[in-house]
């Protein structure tokens, strides 16, 4: 990206500012870990009743949980500012994005990192590592984890951006719109094959979360024939990002012509 240094400088400065609030940082860390653990609690209940989900053992499902948690964490670390957009629109503050000589979407995303993301990142790391360790997975699998996480954060953020933009075009500036892609992410923590076909394929092709946890999981644990799809993850991430920016600019035009 041509103006990468601008975005990077913005990110660094904002991150540094956030680090000054130590108590908030600690609490946020605790909270996001707790949210992950709560989800794990339900998984525990499920596996108390059954030994596998469509052939996936508890340790294997935990790998999916871990990848998802880390992708969420990375998205919150780098791109969390998207969550403020509905409020900015309500308060008439989106204007400030438009006075700077930079692309509005990357500038927006990068300029307000959220530190509680570290809770998600750490919990996710512990889960993934625990899963790979107990299942004695080879080193290649470990190496690929960061790639999937990075792609995951891009794909998830793209979904947020698309929902957000659609919302300012059709519905109005409501924070709840962003909860939809967020909730769908929770669905993608389980092996997609347990769901009815439309959910399964919806989460692979429409909102392609399965691409950064389910497909890699399939590949790592040797589950299915086209598991090589895991290597398409970066490509999907790039496409998602491109689509997200187009949709964003299109939504922004609506804001610019209605002022709301």
């Amino acid at each position: 990206m041509k103006n990468f240094d601008i975005y990077w400088a913005t990110f660094k400065a904002s991150l540094q500012a956030k680090l000054e609030y130590k108590l908030d940082f600690a609490l946020g860390l605790l909270t996001s870990s707790m949210l992950q653990l709560a989800a794990l609690g339900f998984l525990w209940v499920i596996f108390h009743q059954t030994s596998n989900l469509q052939g996936w053992t508890q340790a294997e499902v935990i790998f999916l949980f871990g990848l998802t948690a880390m992708s969420l964490g990375a998205s919150e670390l780098f791109f969390n500012h998207i969550w403020m957009v509905p409020y900015y629109i309500v308060m008439g503050d989106l204007d400030r994005l438009l006075v700077y000589p930079v692309r509005s979407l990357p500038f927006l995303l990068i300029s307000r990192p959220e530190l509680h993301s570290f809770g998600n990142l750490l919990t996710g790391l512990a889960l993934t590592a625990g899963s790979l360790w107990t299942l004695h997975m080879p080193w290649q699998d470990w190496v690929l984890v960061p790639v999937w996480v990075l792609c995951g954060s891009v794909i998830y953020t793209s979904a947020l951006v698309v929902f957000c933009s659609f919302s300012f075009k059709f519905v109005g500036p409501y924070g709840y719109t962003l909860m939809i892609p967020h909730t769908l992410l929770q669905a993608s923590r389980y092996p997609l094959s347990i769901y009815p076909a439309w959910v399964h394929y919806g989460l692979l092709f429409l909102v392609p979360y399965g691409v950064f946890n389910y497909l890699p999981g399939n590949w790592v644990f040797g589950k299915m024939l086209f598991s090589a799809g895991a290597f398409l993850t970066p490509l999907v991430a790039v496409v998602c990002a491109a689509v997200a920016e187009r949709v964003w600019n299109w939504g922004l035009k609506h804001y610019q012509s209605t002022g709301s």
Partner: protein, 355 residues
């Protein structure tokens, strides 16, 4: 004036033109939902929406020359901010044409943004939880400001706006007034070709207002910045601008120099004289005839006071001479309605522009 140092010549080739900004038949209307009051209204709104069209700006046309200093005034809701937002590419108009530095703002927003500076006094722009100093550094990177320009403006801003003690403070810990000053500095840090300042002195106390005006005037002069200021404080305009645009209900009511504005609206110049002895009632009649001959009008002649009104600029010396000859004058004053009174008077007229 063509060598504007702050603008980035690489991004924006200088246009062989003098006008910085052209607006033709610009208009903007909004649709707003109507809500009925009360709980019943709230329930009703669940099922239906009624909309109403609001015309924020109608058929606006004007041109700004390079380096001009122009004030835009009008009541709340007259369309000042909307106009500014359209000129800066934030809003897209419903009709009309706009060219700023030869570009259509909402189509080439980013290229334009490099060459303009914007302040929205009601909503300071500084985005981050980071200290002021670092915000400036960030802007330096973002606008690719050459070090010499940056150093120069930065020094001026710190000195004239008294930013020194604020530099290490995160933006959100600043008071509105402090933020405003930082915002102003941030907006002109890259010595833009045009600066759009929307109420740059709002919420500041008098001495700081003065500082801000001085800073604006100084930076404007140094870089030949084209200036468009909106404000409710007319002193901002009399001290920093030459030309005035008066917006009313979205329409342009006046466009011209401040002097022309005064001549057009401040028709009532007055001479007030005080006499040594109380006036005799018989004086008034003949005096009024004499005064009328010299182009004035006798308003009052009672007690020790004589008031004469006139419109023609050149009439004053003759009238004064007349009064000095006819009466025993101990004191004489020329009164001119100040611009603030004029503007207030215009706002109060019930059927001015009309719908």
């Amino acid at each position: 004036m063509l060598t504007v140092p702050g603008g980035l010549p690489k991004m924006l080739p200088l246009y062989p033109m003098n006008s910085a900004l052209q607006v033709q038949n610009l208009s903007k209307s909004y649709k707003r939902r109507i809500r009925q009051p009360g709980l019943a209204g709230a329930v009703k709104a669940l099922f239906s929406t009624q909309e109403q069209e609001l015309h924020a700006v109608r058929d606006l046309s004007f041109t700004l020359q390079r380096g001009e200093r122009v004030g835009l005034i009008g009541e709340n809701g007259a369309g000042k901010s909307t106009t500014l937002k359209m000129l800066t590419g934030i809003l897209v108009p419903t009709g009309g044409k706009v060219e700023v530095l030869g570009r259509v703002p909402w189509r080439e927003r980013r290229q334009l943004a490099l060459n303009i500076g914007v302040v929205f006094g009601q909503r300071p722009q500084l985005l981050w939880d980071i200290p002021v100093q670092e915000t400036f550094e960030l802007l330096k990177t973002m606008y690719r400001i050459p070090p010499d320009i940056y150093g120069l403006v930065y020094k001026e801003a710190v000195r004239r706006l008294g930013l020194e003690p604020l530099l290490a403070t995160p933006v959100r810990h600043l008071s509105l007034g402090q933020r405003m000053r930082c915002d102003l500095a941030a907006a002109v840090l890259h010595a833009p070709a045009i600066a759009f300042l929307d109420e740059p002195t709002i919420g500041l106390d008098l001495s700081v207002k003065e500082q801000v005006r001085e800073f604006i005037a100084h930076i404007q002069e140094k870089f030949g910045i084209t200036l468009l200021i909106t404000t409710h404080d007319l002193k901002d305009i009399t001290e920093t601008c030459d030309r005035l645009l008066l917006l009313d209900k979205g329409r342009l009511l006046f466009d011209g120099s401040i002097k022309a504005f005064e001549q057009k609206y401040a028709s009532d110049r007055r001479i007030v004289a005080e006499t040594h002895r109380p006036l005799d009632s018989s004086v008034a009649g003949p005096l009024s005839v004499e005064v009328a001959k010299k182009g004035g009008k006798l308003i009052e002649a009672e007690g020790h006071r004589v008031v004469v009104e006139y419109h023609e600029e050149g009439a004053a010396p003759n009238l004064i001479q007349l009064l000095l000859q006819q009466l025993q004058v101990v004191d004489i004053n020329l009164e001119k309605t100040d611009i603030e009174t004029i503007v207030t008077r215009i706002y109060r007229q019930p059927d001015r522009a009309g719908d």
